[in-house]
């Protein structure tokens, strides 16, 4: 750089340099938007650090752990029945479904099998928690896209299922009903007929949601072609559940690898897939799944066999030494428990594979280039429960 002697020339140069820098700043400096941990669209305490250019997302990074409760460590000092009460709180909208894979894994290690009646009721309650979970998703997704009424309808009609779960198990949200070797209790009187009525109401609710929300033109313009996940990317990120099926992959653990202890083969039902992989596909697949789940419940209700609901198991449960992994198709996707036992009252180590953690890991990939409102569509349609991410 040459020396500048004339002060006026110097000031010109400074002004020019400042101009350049300002322009550069305008060009390159985006805005970092910190969504959460207290943001209405994150269902709790997920934090998303989004780098924005105007309204366009350059990168979005989910930061989880604000609700970490250390279940994998706590269960090492809890007996198996105690663990059962604890893991209810992982996916709190479909609590009963959390218990089942753990109990099945423990049963597998102990070599006991629940009597047929218990298996039937287990499957029914499992599907009921799916209906309760996903029906709330449908309403909540509407709520996030600004359609308030759908949310309230979902809360209203989910109550029918929760009432049935409550009357069978005693717990509206956290049943803690599954036991190693069977169930805590038999069904109460009149429960089967009431459940039929409740499932009919939920099927009507699905029709209503299809009219009100999924068929709505604004809803479709907000979800179609938004957040497209191709099949190979979905597989690479380890998505499961409806998120995977919405990308066109026909894979459902209830059909392809149902662990013994659940009786999905006794009902006539269908796995729905959608080729698009966008937000609409995910919603649509979930809507169909709710219907299928209600149908499974209705079919199984009619064929519950008689008999005891509890196999013969020792009063104090000690699981023999060994390792077992059982995964089931939970409302949010594949959920599995890997239990390593040393023959003690408590498990030596439990690894929980929960669906939401993997499902949310695709967010940086899928959110790139989307607009901020699309980010909400994507987050909502990926459907995660914070407890299921952080455990």
């Amino acid at each position: 750089m040459t020396a500048v002697s004339d002060p006026s020339q110097l000031s010109d140069l400074i002004a020019e340099a400042t101009d350049t820098r300002v322009n550069l700043d305008f060009e390159s400096e985006g805005m970092t938007l910190n969504m959460g941990p207290q943001h209405p669209a994150t269902h709790g305490t997920l934090r998303i650090v989004a780098k924005l250019d105007g309204e366009q997302v350059i990168s979005a990074e989910p930061i989880c752990g604000y609700m970490h409760r250390g279940y994998e460590k706590i269960v090492e000092v809890r007996t198996y029945p105690q663990v059962n009460a604890l893991i209810n709180r992982i996916d709190w909208l479909g609590s009963f479904a959390n218990e089942v894979p753990f109990i099945l894994a423990a049963e597998k290690l102990m070599g006991v099998e629940a009597p047929p009646r218990a298996q039937w009721i287990r499957t029914i309650l499992f599907e009921m928690s799916r209906v309760a979970n996903i029906s709330l998703f449908l309403g909540d997704f509407g709520l996030q896209l600004g359609g308030m009424t759908a949310g309230f309808y979902a809360f209203r009609d989910r109550e029918h299922v929760l009432n049935m779960i409550e009357s069978a198990t005693g717990g509206r949200f956290h049943p803690n009903f599954d036991r190693i070797g069977g169930l805590k209790d038999d069904l109460p009187k009149g429960w089967i007929a009431d459940s039929h009525v409740a499932m009919d109401k939920l099927l009507a609710f699905c029709d209503e949601m299809e009219d009100l929300l999924v068929g709505n033109e604004i809803f479709q313009s907000r979800t179609r072609g938004i957040g497209v996940i191709p099949a190979d990317i979905a597989l690479n990120y380890g998505l499961s559940g409806a998120n995977l099926r919405a990308s066109g992959i026909d894979w459902d653990l209830r059909r392809d690898g149902c662990p013994p202890g659940l009786v999905y083969d006794q009902a006539d039902w269908k796995v729905w897939t959608h080729p698009d992989g966008d937000c609409f596909a995910r919603t649509w697949v979930r809507l169909q799944e709710t219907r299928e789940a209600a149908k499974i419940v209705k079919q199984l209700l009619d064929t519950i066999p008689a008999g005891p609901v509890m196999a013969k198991v020792p009063r104090i449960i000690k699981v023999p030494e060994g390792e077992a992994y059982v995964a089931t198709e939970n409302p949010l996707g594949e959920m599995g428990y890997y239990i390593a036992s040393k023959g003690d009252l408590v498990p030596f180590r439990v690894k929980i594979r929960s669906a939401s953690f993997n499902n949310i890991s695709i967010l940086p990939w899928v959110a790139r280039g989307a607009y901020v409102p699309d980010l909400i569509s994507i987050l909502g349609s990926l459907y995660f429960i914070l407890g299921d991410i952080d455990r």
């Binding site: 209405p40 009424t149 809803f219 607009y371 901020v372």
Partner: protein
């Protein structure tokens, strides 16, 4: 001037005080009515829940209780806020609402100022509120606020145009820009020579009515056009940093504006304060006019709020393309058709 009012000719200062008091009393009252009737009662009815039940008979005083609560709250301003602008912003928004009420006629003489260019005045004043919104968003020193304010600015400017164009059809048909003149024209009009119900312009200007309601919905930032205050995206946008009394002012302004826009829609498309079987010059309208207008306002508000409770929200760019690619061409076609038919008939 009718004999009733002819004897009452107050000095300028007194009439001004009366007008200010009337507007000052009407604005919160209408906001309260809309809030209770639609936000609480109709909304909870549509969403199959009870709504407020405890405060007052059937929970009707809930909004008053809320208002008292808001007034009691501490007036908090964020650290980085531009304090004066931050505090003035809600007042700017409210003043635009207050000024709108000036032109709304409740009968031939029950109007604060019967302006010859009432339509023009209303449309001009209604775009003032965007300044307050921008002030609020900028001064809050919050990223969500800023995004909300910019969205609001883009949206309000985009929807001013279809609103103006929708109204032009009415103005062409009535041949006047005075709101009272439009009411008289509708009351004395005829549908293909049949004078049975006058000529409420919703019959001929139904396209204009649709565009006007859509634009009003956007001006009020209500679903499906509520991106500036989208609570699930940008956490209520420009309102996010406001608490207590200042938030209450935003709330008041929103509902009072909804009322006055519904009133303007009623005046321009539904015959305003007049009923078809009674001459518009009748003295009965001193008492009947406000009641008729109120009923029509409630009807229009019901449509506005029904849409609000039902639809999801559009995205910002979809909203813009809806305005520019659909509403404005439609409004232009409507104007051309109206003008041609006006000349032909």
């Amino acid at each position: 001037m009718t004999p009733l009012l002819a004897s009452f000719d107050p000095p300028y200062w007194l009439s001004t005080v009366i007008k200010v008091l009337v507007v000052g009393a009407v604005v919160p009252t209408t906001a309260l009515i809309l809030g209770v009737v639609f936000l609480f009662k109709i909304m909870s009815w549509m969403q199959s829940r009870l709504g407020p039940q405890e405060a007052g008979p059937r929970g009707l005083l809930q909004l008053l209780a809320d208002g008292v609560k808001f007034i009691q709250k501490e007036d908090i301003a964020p650290n980085g806020a531009d304090l004066w602008v931050f505090k003035a912003a809600p007042l700017v928004v409210l003043s635009s609402t207050l000024l709108l009420y000036v032109a709304l006629p409740a009968s031939a003489h029950l109007v604060v100022e019967d302006l010859d260019v009432g339509v023009f005045y209303v449309l001009a004043i209604s775009s003032l509120s965007v300044i307050g919104v921008l002030m609020a968003g900028w001064a809050s020193a919050n990223k969500y606020s800023l995004m909300g304010a910019l969205r609001a600015a883009g949206q309000l400017i985009a929807y001013e145009l279809p609103m103006v164009l929708a109204v032009i059809g009415v103005v062409i048909q009535a041949g006047t820009m005075s709101l009272n003149g439009i009411v008289f024209a509708q009351n004395g009009g005829a549908v293909f020579g049949w004078t049975g119900i006058g000529n409420p312009y919703i019959l001929t200007q139904f396209i204009g009515f649709f565009i006007f309601i859509a634009a009003v919905q956007a001006e009020l930032t209500q679903p499906p056009f509520d991106m500036p205050v989208a609570e699930s995206e940008i956490v209520s946008g420009y309102q996010v940093e406001y608490t207590g009394f200042r938030f209450l002012i935003f709330f008041l302004a929103e509902f009072a504006t909804a009322f006055v826009f519904a009133g303007i829609a009623a005046v321009m498309f539904l015959g305003g304060w007049a009923v078809p079987w009674l001459e518009a010059s009748s003295d009965w309208y001193y008492v009947l006019g406000p009641a008729v207008l109120f009923a029509k306002v409630m009807l229009v508000s019901f449509i506005i709020f029904w849409v609000r409770f039902t639809y999801p929200r559009l995205r910002e760019d979809q909203l813009q393309s809806f305005a520019w690619k659909f509403l404005i061409p439609l409004a232009l076609v409507n104007i051309v058709a109206t003008a041609v038919l006006k000349v032909v008939f």
